[in-house]
């Protein structure tokens, strides 16, 4: 009897544990109202980041947390307007382009000062380019962006506030590349001379030693917990950035970046009022949308993002895969059939929760300056796909597809495990391609393993992957030029393998050296047409960019290219949250 009673008690307890867990999230407070705080200056902005910074050295940073933080601490000569992607002055006062685009004379703002009070002038610019970015012993990923035709740009000092950049050939994205961070010569020159630059300004460095020119300076970093930035008292705003009424730039006194383990904890922290800004994935919209009012936040949908996802096939003749498979993948009709069989509406509705757009070509529609709007997107049309496959020499036995030599069409699709969205997309593709008789086996792999297989061992057949889009198509060179290392379908070709690849190579060379925006647009339009016809990458969908913004924040404007914060120095806190 006692045993029976204890058993039912155990069951009841199990029930309490199972069902009671659901109530836990409800216990933290989620109902808020905004109370004005009287002053707009001296605010504190709290955000979450999902990983620790790896370095505080702008020349060495490559992963997102470091680059995000360093974006608040350092500036370049130019900056990109988040509204339209045009180049605006930052440390520069202005510039003059001459000799058909081969010479750019940049004038610096007078009276610029580093955060430690030392003056900032043209010598810092020369130092940054010559001693750091063009120094072969420094492991910086920026260098490749600053090379024109593989050669460095010549940088000379005319007077303390004037720097002259000269290239052998005109280089259209030069002004944009001048946005690289300028580094303090008086601090880092001894470090470079001592040969220890690659280890300098690591995350163990004393924050006071990290001297910048951005609106904020590093105040404290506790690994695994937080990074705190304070306003830079010596900050001088770029031309065109005006202070919000009631405070001087930067308006905020402090930015607090909390390091959290993952996106879900970040979501919960935003819902419970602990953070002010939160980048929302489409899946999280269903959780956030009904709670806008009680959580005192706005959801800002800024239209399609720059990132794109695509599938691509291995067209590399050197690849160690079955020769008949290579023949399928190199067949343009086969790739087109695949493009027509993909249900992009399902991809958007299921994976992106209805918040996304199909993409027709390699330039995201957010980049209006270069987007070719005459390309028709591929719709979901399995009948057309089957017809194309038959034209390409394939035939059906039952519902499965066979090629001319009698091989059944089965393909291994690789994608990376880190992104659950991509694995879901792969499953939808699997169902879509089954409709046209193609059997797909999905193999999710870790990113590093995947990268090795795709870029060095070439042992892969079909890949579902994504790339972050760029503002200027020139940034896509490593993907589209046949010699590029990210030319995924056939990396690092000694010479263009197919006629259309040769044409794209030519177009990219022309695009880089043409200064006239109208002619450049025409050149890149032609590239998009070829990409759309030949389909080396079959573009899928792009998610909408969504940011959740607490209503206490001011200085917020959604922009298509730069988030909801046009310039971090203009952001201010106009209220505080109080329980409703």
């Amino acid at each position: 009897m006692i045993r029976r009673a204890s058993r039912s008690l155990a069951l009841v307890l199990a029930g309490v544990v199972l069902f009671g867990a659901g109530g836990c999230t409800g216990s933290a407070r989620e109902h808020w109202k905004v109370v004005p705080r009287g002053s707009v200056s001296d605010g504190n902005l709290v955000m979450d980041v999902v990983s620790d910074p790896r370095t505080f050295n702008p020349a060495l940073a490559s992963e997102t947390t470091s680059t995000q933080i360093l974006g608040y601490l350092f500036r370049g000569l130019t900056r990109i307007s988040p509204r339209d992607g045009s180049v605006k002055p930052d440390l520069a006062k202005g510039w003059r382009v001459s000799r058909g685009g081969r010479r750019v004379v940049v004038r610096l703002l007078p009276g610029l000062v580093w955060s430690d009070g030392a003056p900032l002038d043209g010598r810092d610019v020369i130092f940054s380019f010559e001693k750091v970015y063009y120094n072969p012993s420094i492991a910086t990923s920026v260098r490749s962006e600053l090379l024109v035709d593989g050669k460095p740009v010549s940088v000379t000092l005319r007077d303390p506030l004037t720097v002259v950049f000269e290239t052998k050939k005109p280089f259209a994205p030069l002004l944009e590349s001048l946005g690289v961070e300028i580094l303090p010569r008086h601090i880092l020159e001894p470090v470079v001379n001592a040969g220890t630059f690659n280890q300098s300004w690591s995350v163990r460095e004393d924050p006071a030693h990290i001297v910048g020119d951005g609106p904020f300076v590093l105040s404290r970093y506790v690994p695994g917990q937080f990074v705190i930035l304070r306003s830079n008292p010596h900050y001088r705003a770029p031309l065109g950035i005006v202070p919000s009424p009631g405070c001087s730039l930067p308006c905020l006194a402090q930015i607090e970046l909390r390091i959290v383990p993952n996106d879900t904890s970040s979501l919960i922290r935003f819902l419970t009022g602990k953070t002010d800004l939160f980048g929302v994935t489409p899946q999280q919209m269903a959780v956030l949308k009904p709670k806008r009012k009680q959580g005192a936040f706005r959801l800002m949908v800024r239209g399609p993002s720059l990132s794109e996802s695509f599938v691509t096939f291995n067209e590399n003749p050197r690849a160690p895969i079955a020769p008949w498979k290579l023949r399928w993948f190199r067949n343009r009709r086969f790739r087109e059939a695949v493009a027509w069989s993909i249900d992009r509406t399902a991809l958007i509705n299921i994976v992106l929760n209805g918040m996304g757009e199909p993409i027709p070509g390699p330039v995201p529609s957010a980049v209006r300056a270069f987007f070719n709007d005459r390309l028709p997107p591929y719709r979901h049309d399995p009948d057309r796909a089957r017809l194309l496959l038959k034209k390409a020499g394939f035939s059906y036995r039952g519902s499965w597809l066979y090629d001319g030599d009698g091989h059944r069409v089965t393909i291994i699709l690789l994608t990376n495990t880190e992104s659950p969205e991509r694995v879901q997309m792969a499953q939808i593709l699997q169902a879509n391609l089954k409709e046209v008789g193609i059997k797909i086996r999905i193999v999710p792999l870790q990113f590093n393993m995947l990268a090795t297989m795709v870029t060095s061992s070439f042992r892969w057949e079909m890949l579902l992957f994504g790339l972050t889009g760029v503002l200027d198509p020139h940034g896509d060179t490593s993907v589209w030029k046949s010699s590029g290392f990210l030319h995924l379908w056939n990396p690092r070709e000694p010479h263009p393998d197919q006629p259309w690849e040769a044409e794209i190579d030519q177009l990219f060379d022309q695009g880089a050296t043409t200064m006239d925006p109208v002619r450049r647009k025409k050149i890149y339009d032609r590239w998009q047409e070829i990409a759309h016809r030949e389909l080396p990458l079959i573009d899928l969908v792009t998610p909408d960019q969504i940011t959740a913004v607490r209503k206490t924040l001011g200085g917020i404007h959604p922009t298509p290219l730069g988030g909801v914060v046009p310039h971090i120095s203009q952001v201010f806190q106009q209220g505080v949250l109080s329980p409703a």
Binding site: L18, A286, K289, N349
Partner: protein, 336 residues
């Protein structure tokens, strides 16, 4: 044994029969998708115009997963009907289902998952997969465990030492890590069959040591019994002694141990699948259905996916209750 099993045994039999007949009982195949009905809540048949029918549902808001019924459109439910084709147990072709609903209707007794697949159907297939896999893994591990235990217990000496110390090494490592380690030896991207075989092997490989230890103990004590000595003195062969005297005397313990270790294997399988190391999608198992409901948005949009977790808990409890009932001291008597 059947009378002693009582309700838990009945429930288990129900589970077992329904999982064996999964193809027939499930209205849809496990991989039958409806991309337009992602995360649709349960739709039950109701009486409409004198017959059983389901309303036609369409997506209203993909962001919040809101659905609406199309007014006036009902699709009748047919019983013992021809529907989606399947291969029963991967072998016999068939199209008969207990009930089906033609497109555009969709019957969903427990709701649909992200890809619009029927959770009820997937659970039936998933239970079968988890059951068959753990039963075969348990059998394999029992064969290994009993052999190792008997050999160690009856021979003694250095063989005993070797086997038992090896078993202790296995028992010292937490089983989930050991499982993951064994699974990691094999490359990713294997087919469902290969993964199933590997998982069976891995589970058996991890599970034999505990049993071997107890069997060895029992064998050592039975070895000293008078009836074993008698058998030995009349020249009976060791193998015959094992089969005739030692094993039958352990049978009750073994049956109980069997019922009590199956749930451990089910949890092991689900754990591996939950971590993505198990059978690949779209094949369902209790673990990978549960893995679908991992994220907060998924849990909010489709809480019914947690039913697979409840099923795991339910099955484990029923097995334990059964084991409890079978473990009865007065049945543990000696069989001379």
């Amino acid at each position: 044994m059947f009378r002693k099993g009582g309700i838990p045994l009945l429930v288990l039999c129900l589970f077992f029969v329904s999982s064996v007949l999964a193809e027939f009982l499930a209205p849809y195949r496990y991989d039958s998708v409806r991309f337009d009905l992602s995360y649709m809540p349960a739709v039950w048949p109701a009486r409409h115009a004198g017959e059983w029918a389901v309303p036609v549902i369409k997506l209203k808001d993909p962001v919040l997963h809101r659905f609406e019924t199309v007014p006036g459109q009902w699709v009748p439910v047919r019983f013992l009907c021809r529907g989606e084709s399947y291969r029963w147990m991967g072998a016999i072709r068939g199209t008969r289902h207990l009930f089906c609903v033609d497109k555009p209707g969709r019957v969903a007794l427990l709701g649909l998952d992200l890809f619009g697949r029927d959770l009820f159907s997937r659970l039936l297939y998933g239970i079968r997969f988890s059951f068959l896999l753990s039963i075969s893994a348990v059998s394999l591990s029992f064969v290994i465990g009993i052999m190792a235990g008997l050999f160690a217990g009856t021979t003694g000496g250095w063989a005993d030492q070797l086997i038992m110390r090896l078993g202790e090494v296995f028992m010292a490592i937490p089983s989930l890590y050991l499982l993951m380690g064994v699974r990691a030896i094999f490359p990713p991207g294997l087919s469902a069959t290969e993964v199933t075989l590997i998982m069976t092997g891995a589970l058996a490989f991890v599970g034999w040591a505990g049993l071997a230890r107890v069997v060895r103990g029992l064998a050592m004590s039975l070895r000293e019994e008078d009836f074993v000595l008698a058998a030995r003195s009349i020249g009976m062969s060791p193998l015959r002694i094992w089969l005739r005297h030692i094993l039958p005397n352990m049978s009750y313990y073994l049956i109980v141990a069997l019922t009590l270790s199956i749930p451990g294997f089910i949890v092991g399988e689900s754990g591996l699948s939950f971590l993505g190391l198990g059978v690949p999608e779209p094949h369902p198992s209790l673990g990978n259905i549960l893995a679908e409901s991992q994220s907060l948005p998924a849990m909010q949009a489709a809480p019914w996916l947690l039913l697979s977790g409840m099923t795991i808990v339910g099955v484990v409890i029923v097995f334990n209750l059964l084991g409890d009932r079978l473990r009865d001291p007065d049945r543990m008597r000696r069989i001379p």
